[in-house]
Symmetry: C2
Subunit: 385 residues, 2 copies
Amino acid sequence: MKKGVTILGATGSVGRNALAVIDSLRDHFSIVGLTACRNAPLLRELIERYHPRYAALADEEQADALRSACPGHTRVLGGLEGVISVAAASEAQIVLSAIVGAAGLQPVLAAIKKGRTIALANKEPLVMAGGIITGLAQNVGATLLPVDSEHSAIFQCLCGNREQKIHKIVLTASGGPFYNTSTEALANVTPEQALAHPTWSMGAKISVDSATLMNKGLEVIEAHWLFGVDVESIEVVIHPTSVVHSMVEFLDGSIIAQLGRNDMKLPIQFALTYPDRMECPVERLDITEVSPLEFFPPKLDKFPCLALAYEAAKVGGTMPAVLNAANEVAVDEFLQRRLHFQEIPTIIERVMRDHQPVADPRLGDILAADEWARESAMESQRSHT
Amino acid sequence: MKKGVTILGATGSVGRNALAVIDSLRDHFSIVGLTACRNAPLLRELIERYHPRYAALADEEQADALRSACPGHTRVLGGLEGVISVAAASEAQIVLSAIVGAAGLQPVLAAIKKGRTIALANKEPLVMAGGIITGLAQNVGATLLPVDSEHSAIFQCLCGNREQKIHKIVLTASGGPFYNTSTEALANVTPEQALAHPTWSMGAKISVDSATLMNKGLEVIEAHWLFGVDVESIEVVIHPTSVVHSMVEFLDGSIIAQLGRNDMKLPIQFALTYPDRMECPVERLDITEVSPLEFFPPKLDKFPCLALAYEAAKVGGTMPAVLNAANEVAVDEFLQRRLHFQEIPTIIERVMRDHQPVADPRLGDILAADEWARESAMESQRSHT
């Protein structure tokens, strides 16, 4: 029997890689639903290729046009409500969430509520509402499987081991394109330079996050929620070539690491086939060809975003949602050339300083904090320039 | 309840490390039996310290003296028969075999027959009689746990994964003390130089085997039997600092590696506490301090022992036992300064060439092949000099 898969964010980088994985394993998986934010032409193409039962476009206007253009088999929905409906569709055993940013939160919650297995490529919902997501998953018995390469690595290192025996998680970071750039030169960094990631080919938002090291900060918070480990026991290590995707050190001092090619098809496929493994159409890694493997402590003062993420995690409550929202705004402003690269952490820090965190937040508190932080970041940006 | 542990070869390097582990976990383990080959003074000391129920000394004459010197609580046996009796003693849940060389074969078989969990630090029995040992263990439901650091690494990498999904095992090798020595200089290598292993502190026989790379060859055969993987799918990679103890590449291209300090207490403790992990009195590894990690393909023509081991494994039957016996004799002759370092593989190759292998051998065939190979190696050595 084929497993039904719904892909949220099917037109993005992870979504398209997931479709490539499913193309190569079409005897094992079928597409139930596909959603996208606003790339209507590509979503239409995918509907024609995969004939999913459901599709949704977050952009309502384009959704109407898509609906009339698409054949009868696929039910095309629109808006956030439409995306949530597709996420909850009962025909899928696995929901892969590859939505970018906070927009993934409510669709992911909808899929968890229905008890689906969630393959989570979208780290922001966990950063914002990790307690709510993991608590709900536990209550309904839904499985959360990481797709981020680092978290897939940690998950693979933990297979067969007991989580309470973890001494430390070591998250590797390439350091991004500017790790060896001088602090002075950082001031003039362009979006094009920030998007040229040295080891991974990814979407725009995550590429900028990698350049500021905020991506690693978000990953620290994500790992905290996925694996139940305090952020103090999650260490970031710079590993320029990203061959070792992450490591777990156990109580006895033994370290288990996962290594592989830097291709998102690997962790995506592992989340789909878990607990099984299948052949993957990715070139194999020859360890003698990627030698030597180098590891350095991170330069925290040059990349303040990482320290801000640790701080938000330690404060807890609504603070990580505020960190995330302010970062989304700042990154967008940087990509629109309205903010310098080094001002990204300045904006985030200012918004965090002004925030009164709510402890043990409900979803409403988190969404309110998210909205407040976005406005506050925009304001801070305007008053600053 | 404390688990009872018997240590075969308690006075050697692995045996003493095992006792140190048990000292630090004395609420969890107690000593049931201790055996040694000929180090009567140390065995006597250990009997006085641990009060085991059983002890045995392979050297019969010294055993008689030890028996009269030792207090009433410990039953002291002598000879191979005595060691076998202690190995089979029913009070132990775990039998750690740290005997050096082929001498471990019959005690290990005796412990397996009784359904004990065997922590196997002694690779030669598996090389000689892997089919018999693993077949017997399967029949009686005895568990074999590896203690060799490389095989413990592979075992840890496989935890939670399915063995039939292995694409390749990558055994790391430090390369030994002579990896960068010129072929000309190898001719004049002394036993003292061969015993100075760059990354591990070990006994004499295994240190010489590491210098010739025969140790890695024996490990390839050991891994074949322990993990049911063809030797063609077991690759050796030179990794000078031995930080990565070994790796497993799975069907999907994902590689899991185990890393740690080069201290035998780690894999010994893991075999004792498995499937649990406990704190270990070994300094933790900081990956940034051991950076960079280098990996190279092995120089097969400079170290012919590795190729000989692959060849013996491919021929199968009694050939690996012959390889092992000829190697034991040649290493001993080298340590006695009666053979040059580079003549070790020459002797082994000659004995292998003269051997008529028996397919699907019984224990008698293996013991006969072992005896024949030892005589043949001695003869070859005498006629050669």
